[in-house]
Amino acid sequence: MSTRYRKERAWYALFTLPLLIIFTTVVIIPFLIGIGYSFVSWDGIPANPKVFVGFDNYVALFKDERFLSSAWHTIEFTVLSLLLVNVLGLVFSLLVTQKLRGSNVARTMFFMPNLIGGLILGYIWQFVFTDAFKTVGERTGLDAVFFNWLIHPQSALYATVIVFAWQMAGYTMIIYIAGLQSIPDELNEAAKVDGAGRWHRLTKIVFPLLMPSFTICLFLTLSNAFKMFDVNLSLTKGGPNNATELFAMNIYNEIFGYGHYGLGQAKAIVFFLLVAAVTLTQVIITKRREVQL
């Protein structure tokens, strides 16, 4: 008995240890070192001294107006993306699961943007928002809508939301499709026989049973939107006048632009706590609403 137990343990260790080692070296240790750096004042050059400053960095970051305004932009961005990505993803998934001609092609097309890297996507859309929009505006006279979106603080943020949604919606669509397909046909048919209309079937049967997918999609969108960097960098570089500088980019600029390594790390820790708190809350809330068959 005990040998078999030991044998099982050995197998268990054999499969988990490599992963554990990788996880420890690339996540846990850097994270702990990062916490350490957040208490020093340092410019990021190894040869230069690191001075211990206690909680000064944490005090300083709450007085940093640029950080606070970037926090606000991030929240604005996240809320808008959360809505847009999930509404689009859900609509797409409902569309392509109808038995329509071309729904497989549509499925591929909707997912395609997700295969393009964020950096490249940003550069493509930069062209669309600056040159293409401007030309369309000039040709059609609709320049109230079609102007260079990237030079206007508010519209530049919306532009970032659009590109992010364009990238993420296809991905959430796939998850919603999987959710939709796991709903047994009998339920829908039974409801149909009982006289439930399209809308009723959607809200009373499909949505409640789709709750697990909502949990995953909201979690993914929320955490990705908070952490978004690549599209931000290639589309607007945080401009104009820092109006689209999101959290990740603010931290990057603090560390590499100003060379305030410690302060940047402190921001990163605060950022981590915030993202963890928000996403955990979301998961707990949506989990609670999941129904079992």
Binding site: D43, A47, N48, F256, G259
Partner: protein, 424 residues
């Protein structure tokens, strides 16, 4: 995250060169010379492969071609990493911090050099540094640590068939010229959205016109003086107001469109440097002559000339690599091929006494002549706090160009506030 943007160099492979062009079989270790660099370039000794990372996008292609020529002539390899433009300093820092720094890299004179100086190898005893023009070497105390790329200059690059420098000598005439072009439906002047072309270079002029620019910057850092209270800056703000009122919004203009519109005659003047000729050249015969004149702030009649960048060797690299790096720089600055490449391919205005500059392009010619006659103002911006142009001054300038109601005085106040933040 940054490191992913550029090609990563692995220095491990050290494959033998296929063409040793008629030289005797390699006799490695035959002459273990004490001098770190092989002064005789004909030495068949195979040196370690080195990597090179530098900030100038304009010379990227020419530099790669030169690295190939170098390999053909000497059998030694230099790997040129992709250029990064505006993000150069941050990428360099990321690579160095990660211990994956290049063997040779470039740094700007001033704050940037100060920041990275713990990485500089001492070049004082290398043969090629003897040819650096007086006061042009990058020094750390008494040690020579960097070789200048060359001198560069900027001012108003203008279309000679559209603009007469006599019409652009002070604020009044400058504004009138811009208004005249606007009435004709042409762009009088164009800035572009890149941080340096939007504000970095143009704001150099009021700094350079101070009695002691470095002292002024030091006082500004401490908050003892304000731009808003300084005469030259007050006039600078008026210039910027005139530019905003009469020219297209620079936020919508990129460097290449800026130069494209200039090359096709849609824009009469651009605030640019001699490096921009590299883009103009691609348009072939422009159909008009071009020149460079001073930015006429406070009657200024000199163009801004300085050393933009220096080659330095990474002291943290392997000693064999440092030796190979010295050999490469020596070849670059003393061999005929290297010297020719500096002038003809890089289009640098040499800062070396052993390199003659003939048949320079028209813009470089102006800078070269100004340098010889001493009719120049310095590059005060090299002494700005690290990263301030991109991080603080550019957003303030963006705000100014986006908000048509902002006054010049408000702009100066914003610049002062941005400076206070950036100088922390």
């Amino acid at each position: 995250m940054v490191g992913l943007l550029a090609a990563c160099g692995s220095n491990s492979d050290n494959n033998a060169s296929p063409s040793a062009s008629g030289s005797a079989p390699a006799t490695s270790g035959a002459s273990a010379s004490a001098s770190p660099s092989g002064t005789s370039s004909a030495a068949p000794e195979k040196l370690k492969k080195i990597s090179l990372f530098q900030s100038k996008v304009e010379i990227a292609d020419a530099l790669e071609a030169l690295a190939k020529t170098y390999q053909k002539e000497t059998g030694n390899e230099v790997e040129v990493w992709g250029s990064a433009g505006d993000a150069y300093a941050t990428q360099l820092q990321a690579k160095l911090t990660a211990g994956e720094g290049p063997t040779i890299f470039s740094v700007a004179t001033g704050e940037e050099a100060e920041k990275f100086k713990s990485y500089f190898a001492d070049l004082s005893n290398e043969p090629y540094v003897k040819n650096i023009a007086p006061n042009m070497a990058l020094q750390d105390g008494d040690k020579i640590v960097g070789v200048p790329y060359g001198v560069e200059g900027f001012g108003l690059v203008y279309n000679k068939s559209l603009v007469d420098p006599k019409d652009v000598t002070d604020l009044d005439s400058f504004t009138k010229t811009l208004e005249k072009f606007k009435a004709e439906g042409k762009n009088g002047l164009s800035l572009s959205q890149e941080a340096y072309f939007l504000i970095g270079h143009i704001i150099n002029t009021p700094f350079a016109l101070q009695a002691d620019p470095q002292d002024f910057i030091a006082k500004l850092n401490k908050g003892e003086v304000k731009m808003a209270d300084t005469k030259e800056f007050q006039e600078f703000a008026k210039f910027m107001e005139a530019i905003r009122a009469n020219t297209p919004n620079p936020m919508e203009v990129k460097y290449d469109t800026q130069m494209g519109d200039f090359a096709t005659g849609k824009t009469a003047m651009v605030h640019q440097g001699n490096w921009s000729y590299g883009l103009l050249k691609d348009y072939g015969d422009l159909g008009f002559d071009i020149g460079m004149m001073p930015f006429p702030l406070a009657g200024n009649n000199k163009i801004a000339v300085g050393v933009a960048s220096n080659w330095v060797i990474n002291a943290k690299a392997d000693p064999d690599e440092i030796k190979a790096a010295n050999a490469f720089l020596n070849w670059l600055f003393t061999s005929e091929t290297g010297k020719k490449a500096i002038v003809d391919d890089f289009k640098f205005i040499p800062a070396m006494t052993n390199i003659e500059a003939d048949n320079l392009d028209p813009l470089s010619q102006v800078v070269y002549e100004a340098t010889k006659s001493g009719q120049t103002i310095p590059w005060a911006m090299n002494y700005f706090p690290q990263g301030i142009i991109v991080n603080d001054l550019a957003p303030a300038a963006q705000q100014f160009f986006l908000d048509k109601n902002m006054t010049g005085e408000q702009f100066l106040k914003n610049l002062d506030a941005a400076w206070a933040k950036g100088a922390q």
